[in-house]
């Protein structure tokens, strides 16, 4: 401490939170790979269907996250069966003519989810059982009862959500639901309740002795988790447009994997929608990328293998976090995200650039639909030659701007941190490599445009 006191201007402690390092990196790596493998992902329909498929998983991960933050090793294994339970009861009610209006459906789903989680929380608090045991018990009981309620897949979803699952455009009710849910969580993080929750998860005894009403906070966390689970069930129902007693169950493992991939701590105290959404998206992208390889009959086996190994590997990587923390003392996930996003945008442009169409320019010429290009700016694969021409002119500008931004970021990072042993080296190296690679890729792939200028 005497050493520290000689340099009083330097505040003690590191703000570093490198847990998002891995999900962000993995996300962009997978995204780049996915776009390169299948450019069709970056169409309105591609993104739309991605959202439809990924939303139940993302929301299920949120549900897990909310209760996992509360500590005591709460990993709610019953989230999958709970989604299934809401799904099958919803289908049964709606085919019985009840629950027709959207409002009723939403209220019902959220209520059931919250009710289940309330019971869960009460057992954990007052019977003082380990949460994992309670969730196991819930898993078995709900899996059983789901099959009793709806013995085999079938039924029809409420009429109003019949078209939700088509996923033909980016903007769908499901997306709205996802955005609202995420925004709600972000708003929630601004409240004192969230701070209580996080601190309780990190050290329950500290919170208790400091006068935090831990019972109420824990119940609150479970209620939020239940609400998310209800929303996940609606998204799931929209996706399959019917009832399925066993499909929901599979969400348990995937959601837990997504949670771990997203950098949340299963011990509690750490987690957020950003990481959880990234984790879930990563899993979706893994499935997507694997699907592009077309393994034929063994597709599902390969997916299983990949899920399992990625879960284990990402758990093992969390062991490295303290080591990283020692070297990167001031890591800004946001900065890192933006930097990588810029790079991957370049890759996406490259991947979706229809060079043959540009060169041949023989496609039927139509008027440029400004409206459409605004709404679906990334719908590039089938764009008109005019757009292509426009883009061709813009390409060098974009690449130059990209390089400038990246260099600026790099310099900021490099200069701001040189005197301290903080962020810097690792992020800088990653960035530099990716920037150079992206720039190289772009110059390689756009010689014509450069020449045409």
């Amino acid at each position: 401490m005497t050493v520290a006191s000689t340099q009083l201007h330097e505040a003690k402690g590191g703000r570093s939170n490198p847990y998002l390092l891995m999900p962000i990196t993995l996300f962009f790596a997978l995204l780049a790979l996915a776009v390169l493998r299948a450019p069709s992902l970056m169409t309105s329909a591609g993104i739309g269907s991605a959202i439809i498929v990924a939303t139940p998983l993302i929301l299920a991960t949120y549900a897990l996250m909310a209760s996992a933050i509360s500590g005591r090793g709460t990993v709610d294994l019953s989230v999958g069966p709970l989604i299934g339970f809401v799904n099958v009861t919803l289908i049964q009610f709606s085919s019985a003519g009840l629950l027709e209006s959207p409002l009723a459906v939403f209220l019902y789903a959220i209520f059931i989810g919250a009710l289940y989680q309330l019971i869960f929380a009460l057992i954990v608090i007052y019977v003082r059982l380990q949460p994992i045991i309670v969730s196991l018990s819930g898993y078995l009981a709900l899996t059983g009862i789901n099959l009793v309620i709806l013995p085999r897949p079938g039924g029809v979803a409420p009429a109003f959500m019949a078209e939700w699952g088509y996923g033909t455009s980016i903007f769908s009710p499901v997306l709205v639901m996802l955005v609202l849910a995420s925004a709600a969580w972000l708003l929630f993080t601004a409240t004192a309740f969230y701070t209580h929750l996080r601190l309780m998860g990190s050290d329950e005894r500290a919170a208790y002795t400091a006068g935090v009403p831990i019972t109420i906070v824990r119940i609150g966390a479970h209620l939020i988790s239940g609400a998310f689970a209800g929303l996940a069930a609606i998204a799931f129902t929209a996706l399959i447009s019917s009832g399925d007693p066993s499909q929901g169950t599979t969400y348990t493992l995937i959601a837990v994997t997504a949670l771990v991939l997203g950098g949340a701590s299963l011990a509690g105290g750490r987690g957020g929608v950003f990481g959880s959404a990234l984790g879930a998206l990563n899993l979706y992208l893994i499935t997507f990328v694997l699907a592009t390889f077309n393994f034929g009959a063994v597709q599902s086996f390969v997916t299983n293998l990949a899920y399992g190994s990625i879960l284990v590997i990402s758990l093992l990587l969390t062991l490295l976090i303290p080591v990283i923390q020692r070297y990167i003392r001031n890591f800004s996930p946001f900065l890192y995200f933006v930097a990588l996003a810029v790079v991957v945008l370049g890759v996406i442009l490259h991947g979706t650039f229809d060079y043959t169409a540009f060169e041949a320019a023989s496609l039927p010429v139509g008027p440029m639909d400004l409206q459409a290009s605004l709404i679906a700016p990334l719908e590039i694969a089938v764009s008109s030659p005019e757009t292509e021409a426009l883009r061709a002119q813009a390409a060098p500008l974009i690449s130059a701007a990209l390089l400038l931004v990246v260099i600026a970021v790099f310099l900021r990072v490099a200069f701001a941190q040189t005197d301290r042993r903080r962020i810097g080296p690792a992020v800088a190296v990653v960035l530099a490599a990716l920037v150079l690679g992206g720039a190289w890729g772009m110059t390689q792939s756009t010689p014509d445009t450069e020449v045409s200028q």
Partner: protein, 608 residues
Amino acid sequence: MPTAAVLSTSAEPGRDTISVRNVKKYFGPTRALDGASFSARAGEIHAIVGGNGCGKSTLAKVVSGILPVDSGAVTILGETPSTPAESRALGISTVYQEVMVADESSVVDNIYLGADRLFSKTLSQDRKVARAATLMQELSGEAVDPHALVGTLPLGLKQWITIARALLSEPKILILDESSAALDFDSTERLFNKMRALRDGGTTVLIVTHRIAELIRISDRATVLRDGRDVGVLEKHEITEKNLLALMTGVDRSGSHHALAAPQPKTAERGLKARGLVVEPGAKAFDFDLRRGEIVGVAGLDGQGQDAFVRVLAGVQPAEQGVVQVAAQNDEWSMVRSLPEAAAGRISYVSGDRKREGIFASLSIFENMMMPLYREKRRGGILGIIDRLTLGAIFKREADNLLIKFGLKEDRITSLSGGNQQKVLIGRGFAMRPDIIVLNDPARGIDVGAKAELYKHLRSFAEDGRSVVYMSSELEEFLGFATRVIVFRDGAPFDAFDGSRLDPKVVLEAMFGQTNGEGLTAAYGLQPGRAVPQTGSAPTANGVRVLVDVPEDIKAALRAARPIATPTYAMKETTVSRPAELSKPIRIVEFDTSGQKRGGHKSVGSGQ
């Protein structure tokens, strides 16, 4: 002395804010509080003091509303809070012994933990940050980034965060439960200043401590606890070490204990040596020798490296640098780097932290004691069948030796009281038939009677020519028990003292770095036999050798002229009189095979 405890319950300077009447709190068979009472006023620093396991921490928890009492009345500011939230609302802030912070969260969140209402914040985040930054600067004396994750901070700063949390709400009552444990000297001083300022503002500051020097400096009144009962209240002018010790230990018992003589080694033969040892990162390197037949006391303020030192000696944790070697057969030394090596070198380790690294809670008493011998006494080779017959005999022997009181040996160990559990663990250490036993604060939380038996047992163990390394957080334990005492500070030995002339006050000063540390090189220092250069590679061959022959008439004279300050000196009827009062003559006493000519006479003469 109980008479010194002038009771003055009627509140003159301030009204009574805390009133505890005849409170009892039992944990199973353990009586943590057994009818304790005390009261504290507004505008005073009140110390709750007592030895380990006297119930003072339990009392703090009762006052802060964490533990409900079994019987008795607790009134704080006219109410009886039953949860920490209620006591916080009443204006009671507590800093607990254990540093409780949320590692995943920022400094500012940790400081403001519990300050907000359930949904809305009491302060905007910006103002919280600013306040947290100034508060931490003020308290810890260095700038702390309020956004920093607490997990990245050192322990001392974490402790400050918990203190800052308690100070934040301008408490009416502030309870500090051993809160200076993780703080260094300067920080403790800053904390004391803060406490005085609060007191002058009318706050009741309640400190719970077993550190006598600290509480003498800071407290206005002190309530002394012993065995779960209050045994006296001392006013400011009565708070002296003598009065406190008298009350804490109980006069009768401490007297009999102190009258005993510390065992003296019969030879200079060393059982263990350490060379260039560094036990904590950044600490000084030192050498250390352990002779056969001595009890080495190890002391120091919490976290000054003494704990690491005994663990390194026992092979529980590796040394940062340097080597620890134990005497093996054929005059050879074998390394101690790990537990198996320590066991091979016949070193056993007994921890005072029973719950964490001692007992196996759901296993039987028998198993708890005999577990380490399972391997040695197995039958059927690889099948590893436990030889319960042989082990049963050993168990009976150790249990009889240590006077362990138990029902059936198949009963769970948790059915025993703390003291008896500790005896079982010590029995585990003895059952391995060690040459060296290393004890890490073993008397923590056991009663005085059990302690006395433990000392007796260890003493006879040492008198058999084996060695004991005994770390304790209570200096009183070393009186009349330790051959020499080594005080640690900043991760290395700071000073050493002769056990037969031990003055707790001086040792305490050494713990605070107020002595010159010259004891380290004395005959009772780190290497008692180092003074005369040793030539050759074979140290102390041939086992026990009597080198000093004290004539009978001198011994008689010695007994007659026993100095009052050292009542225990030369009580023992051994041919090896190892006089150790003065540093100069003692250096002449050497146990080299050829060093017989000089020796006893001169030193003994100087002792007269």
